[in-house]
Amino acid sequence: MTKVESEFEGVHLLKGNFAAAYAARAARVQVVTAFPITPQTLIVEKISDLVDSGKMNCEFIRMESEHSVMAALVGASIAGARTYTGTSGQGLLYMAEPVHWAAGTRLPMVMSIASRGIAPPWNIWADFSDVMSQRDSGWLIQLNSTHQEIYDSVLMGYKITEDPEVMLPLMAAYGGFILSHTSKPVDMPPQSEIDSFLPEIPEKGWDHIFLDADRPMMHGALVMPGDFYQEFRMKIHLAQLRAKEKIKVVTKEFKEKFGRDYGNGLFYEYKTSDAEYIMINYGEIAKQMELTIDTLRNEGYNVGMINLRTYRPFPSEELIEKVKHAKILGVVDRATAFGSPTGGPVSSDVRAALQTSSETRNLSIIPFINGLGGRDVFPEEQREQFEILFHVLDKGEYPKNKDLMHATYWTGTIDRRST
C-alpha cells in the first residue's frame, strides 16, 4: 500500500455534487461564484474546501444571492475566464434575469443544477421543473442520469460551450438528493488527458467580447427596434441548432478518448432498434427504467427507451429518425408545464417535433407525469406506464381507472379515494 492515491484521479465513491465539483476542478475553471441552496450546496462547499486547502486554483467568490452569483459570473466570463457555478430550484428562479443575460451575451459557462421541486409548498427533492423554467433562456440544457454522467457532462460542457460556433452557456441538471447526495463509483481520468481533451482558454478573452484596455468595447448597450435586436435573437437560435452537431462531435470524441458512451450526446437509446413501444424518459428514472424494459422484454414485449440527455437544443430530427418505426410512444416528465398542451414540458415538445414529419405525424404519443418533488418512482410504476401503452395500442382506448387529465397520465398519485 505504498502507492499514493490521488483524490482526483481513478475510481472513487462520490456524491453527485462532489462529482460536479471535481469535474469543475479538472476543467481548471478560473472563477467560481457561490451561494448555498439545498441540494446544490455541497458543490460550492467542496470547491470552497479545495480552494482553501490549495488543491484547486481558482477565484472563489461568495455572493449575497443567486442573482449576484450569475451577475458576477457574467462579469468574469466577459473578462475571458472559464467560469462555473451550481444552483437549485428557487435559486435558479431568483437567478433567472442574469441567466438570460449570460446567454444573450454569448458567454460559454457551465452550471450544474441539482434539480428540486419549485415552492410552494417547500420542496427540496428531485423535480426538473426548475431547469425547464429556463427552457427559453438560450442556455443549452442537459439532463444527467448517473453520477458518472454528472462528472463527464461538465467536462464535455466546456468543449461544447467554448466552441466559436456555439458560444452559449450550458446547464447540466440532475435529480436533487437522488443523485446529488447519493454516492457511487465515479471514474476520473488523469489530469493530463483532461487537459488534452479540453480547449485552451484564450489568453486575450473570447473573440466577440472582452475587457481589455487596449481594445475598448462598450458593454450592455441599448439597441433600437430598427437595429440588431431581432438579428441577435436569430443568431442565438442558430447557435442552438449548430450546438446539436457540436454536441454529437464532442460526445464522440469523449467516447474515443475516455471510453464512455452517451449515444449521440442528444440522447441515448436502450433497446429501441426493433421496439414497437418506445418510452422517452430522462434523469435517473430513465436509467432505472432499463430494468423494467429488461423484464418486459423477457416477457416478450418489444419495448425500448430513449434517454433524453439534451433538452435544448431539442433533437427533433434525430428523434423522428429513431421512433418512426414505433407503434406507440410514451413520454415521461418529472416536471410540470402548467397549462401546456400536455402538462409536461418534454411531452409537449415531443408532440410538436413529431408533427413536423409525415413519418411520425400519426404516431400516438401518451404523456406521463411522475415523481414530482422527489417522490419515489418504483419499477412497478414504470411498468404501469408501459402497460398503459399496451392498453391504448391493443384496445384503441385510454384506460379509465387512472389519474388521467386531459390525455396525460399522472402516475404514482396518492389514491384520493383511500385517504
Binding site: 465513491l13 435529480g175 443523485l179 457511487k184 463509483p185 432499463e290 419515489d376 418512482v377 419499477p379
Partner: protein
C-alpha cells in the same frame, strides 16, 4: 428473503434506521466504501435526507452489487439486512413493520426484542456500551456508526477488519485507531439472538 446470510446474491439491499446525529447517513457511506474495497462492482448509498434534527428517526439505504450496475435509485423495500442504530426506535410501529431480512440491533442484552417478527434472524451488539467504554464521544454523544459496521462485517462476512482499517484510515485521519479498536470489539461481541418461535 427466506435464506439466512445472503452474501452470495448479486444485489444486496440494506436499510438503516437511526436517529439524527447517530451517524446513520455516514454509516451508509462507509458501508459502501467497505463493500467497494471488498470487491463489489457497484455500490450506492441513499440517505433519506429531509429537514431532520438531532434525535428524530431517520433512514438510510444501501445497495451493493457484485456483478451488475445498480440502476435502482429508489429507497429500499424488503431489505436483505436491516440495521437499527437504537433499540428505542423499535417503539415506532412503522420501524418494526419495515424490518426485514437479517436484523442487527444496537441494544444491550437485557432489552426485550419480542416485538420483532419471530421469523426474522436478529443479531445484537451493544454499540452504545462499547462506545462509552472507549470514550468515543462527540459532544457527549457516543459514536455508533463505526462500531456497527464492525458488527455488520462479522454478521455478513462481506468485508474484513483489514478493510475497515483501511477505510477508517482514509476517512478519519488521526482518529482512525479509536474507531477501529471499537469496531473490532463490536466485531467480536456481536451475536445472534435465540428467538422463540
Amino acid at each position: 428473503m427466506t435464506n439466512a446470510v445472503q452474501t452470495k446474491n448479486d444485489l444486496i439491499n440494506v436499510t438503516i434506521h437511526g436517529r439524527g446525529g447517530q451517524g446513520a447517513i455516514t454509516a451508509s457511506n462507509l458501508l459502501c466504501e467497505c463493500a467497494f474495497r471488498a470487491g463489489f462492482k457497484d455500490v450506492l448509498d441513499i440517505p433519506k435526507i429531509g429537514a431532520e434534527r438531532r434525535g428524530a428517526p431517520i433512514q438510510g439505504f444501501v445497495r451493493l452489487s457484485r456483478v451488475n450496475e445498480i440502476k435502482m435509485y429508489t429507497g429500499v423495500r424488503n431489505a436483505d439486512y436491516t440495521l437499527v442504530f437504537d433499540y428505542t426506535l423499535l417503539d415506532i410501529p412503522s420501524v418494526v413493520s419495515s424490518l426485514s431480512g437479517i436484523v442487527l440491533v444496537n441494544a444491550p442484552e437485557f432489552v426485550n426484542l419480542d416485538c420483532i417478527d419471530p421469523n426474522l434472524d436478529v443479531w445484537i451488539v451493544d454499540a452504545t456500551g462499547i462506545s462509552m467504554n472507549n470514550g468515543l464521544l462527540i459532544a457527549g454523544f457516543p459514536i455508533l456508526n463505526t462500531l456497527i459496521l464492525g458488527a455488520f462485517a462479522k454478521m455478513t462476512g462481506m468485508y474484513s477488519l483489514d478493510i475497515i482499517k483501511d477505510v477508517y484510515k482514509a476517512r478519519f485521519g488521526k482518529n482512525w485507531e479509536k474507531n477501529y479498536i471499537a469496531a473490532e470489539q463490536a466485531y467480536k461481541s456481536v451475536k445472534k439472538v435465540g428467538r422463540k418461535i
